[in-house]
Homo-oligomer: 355 residues x 2
């Protein structure tokens, strides 16, 4: 993750864990090369059942390239496999083999569509957290009225402490620089009331620590739920419980809206006429609000870059995750995050709680 150079990067794609199966992962690999996401200096390692992958790859001329390497793995992590099962009995799975390569320094990043809980657990245990970080944090890119924002943590660490929330803020800020191209990202702390003293002891302490960081971070203060859609901040910090609930509630809402619009439009000829005229708009809206299109949420704070792509990702979603991973490598995100965490912890240790 720290070896950004003009000689290119080497990344592993776990081809087996997605809902659409290895054929979609292989199609994504071909698309990534075709679109130049994998540049001539980069190398892509396709991890999974080798015979199977090689057969699927024959349909894509672009994959006959020295930039594409196959790495065999004997099993697959299922979408319902418990993390402990994966760690104990599926060491030969594509997810675990890819993580092992990352740990050994054979690749610089792993992209996986596999089971989130298993990926978080296996990634944390295999790679360990960066010096100064206690838990990893999963960072999603969310659409808003204009542009995007980073929401983290969306599920890696449900019960975050104030110190861990501050780490989320630091990691998210650096990730926003790499992925959104914002030079000095505005960071907001999600809470239930923006005056000081609202939101409980944990939020108050986090707020105090974020203020103490000074120029380390562009902290804009506490924000409320409706603020995230405007242009008030680029990074929204919360714990993995609240972040996950928001992400999934919104995802469910988008599907409900789509069904509601679809069923009403079909039932009524006037709506149908209108719907046909408005189809591109509805499609745009659906795309804009569909979280998995902004495919790829990095698991930040580990010794190595792990990108989680949505389980239902199609080839575009997987390519997007590969692109985001390469951008983070190119920006030297890992080294920068490590340095920032150490500096942050120094300030935290010098900031006693207010009473």
């Amino acid at each position: 993750m720290s070896q950004a150079s003009k000689t290119g990067h080497i990344v592993a794609l776990d081809c087996m864990g997605g809902d659409l199966g290895p054929s979609e992962a292989i199609a994504a690999a071909a698309l990534a090369i075709k679109e130049g996401v994998i540049s001539p200096n980069d190398t892509l390692v396709l991890v999974g059942h080798e015979d199977n992958l090689r057969m699927l790859a024959m349909e894509h001329r672009g994959l006959k390239s020295p930039r594409v390497i196959f790495k065999h793995a004997n099993s697959v992590v299922g979408s319902d496999d418990a993390p402990m099962t994966v760690l104990k009995s599926k060491r030969d799975s594509s997810m675990m083999v890819a993580l092992e390569m990352l740990k050994a320094g054979e690749v610089e990043a792993v992209i996986s569509t596999g089971n989130t809980k298993a990926l978080v657990a296996a990634g944390t245990i295999k790679l360990r957290t960066m010096e100064g970080a206690e838990r990893p944090s999963l960072a999603a890119i969310m659409p808003r009225k204009e542009g995007h924002f980073i929401l983290l943590d969306v599920g890696a660490n449900p019960e975050a402490t104030p110190e861990q929330l501050v780490h989320n803020a630091i990691l998210g800020s650096i990730y926003a620089q790499c992925s959104l191209g914002v030079s000095n990202p505005r960071v907001g702390l999600l809470t239930v009331g923006t005056e000081e003293g609202k939101g409980g002891v944990r939020i108050n302490r986090t707020h105090q620590l974020l203020k103490a960081l000074g120029s380390q971070i562009n902290y804009v203060g506490p924000i409320e739920g409706f603020d995230v859609w405007g242009d008030s901040c680029d990074v929204v910090v919360t714990d993995g419980f609240t972040g996950n609930v928001i992400l999934k509630t919104l995802e469910g809402l988008i599907y409900m809206l789509r069904d509601l619009i679809g069923s009403k439009v079909k039932r009524n000829p006037v709506y149908l006429a209108g719907g046909i005229a408005m189809f591109p708009l509805l499609r745009d809206l659906k795309g804009k609000l569909k979280p998995e299109r902004y495919g790829g949420a990095p698991l930040l704070g580990l010794n190595g870059l792990v990108m989680k792509a949505h389980g239902s990702s199609n080839r575009q979603g997987i390519v997007s995750a590969i692109r985001l991973g390469l951008e983070a490598l190119e920006h030297g995100a890992g080294k920068r995050m490590q340095d920032a965490l150490v500096a942050t912890n120094t300030i935290i240790s010098q900031t006693p709680p207010e009473n």
Copy 2:
């Protein structure tokens, strides 16, 4: 709250705190009488600056009725007033005067569009929590694909303990019977993964306690964010932090969608034609998803019924809050909640934590 009888109910409307001012509250009072929400046996107390209210009431013939009483209050709680300011320096405000009447037994319920934080704080301090309840809980009625569900707590108690989450479940279940007319409401516990052991210590203990309640509650287990929009449960239980963030995030999203649709439709003549044809559909959708239309969130767990209506409520929203309040009174919700809390606490005290 416990005096449900055929002789009718007496409720107080705080007319001063809403964004649209006392004229909208007075119009709501007239509408409530016209629509029969306030039946011939009920009495409505209009609390606020009496001269002002009487002048506004002259425009509505229906308010010249012995069922309408005016109660003077000298000041108004502002939307930014801190709870402590209200409690100390605004005892003569319409909100505080209405709550004082409730405490004194002169009315059975208070409906207010005022500042939520002040209402929660003042309601809790004036009325005190029911025996066995430690904190109140704010319960919102949310739309879903078919019908509605109750989400609680949406902001009264941000850092709820397992016991307080169980109280939310019990209170929400009884409120769903009164307001949604569901005889045996299905109750789900919002978390980040539905297998046992996910979501942290607090959620695990809550899950254990809810299971221990047995036939006291129709507990369907842990649910995730996307489950709320389907038909899997009628009551979604969470803490006031997560609930408030969900409510406000969704509210913000609805406004963003409206703006997005509006601006795209205006800019493009094809969309405009389609938009005109689809206008009733878009309006329906907006209405379905606008939280304040389901006006009125009761502050459950207090010795007296306090209904919070959205600050921006129009007359329909206020009438909806009055209706929900009267339905709760008619169902004897207060007495039933009190009895259920006592029974619940007995079971909680007999259920040691699993290790």
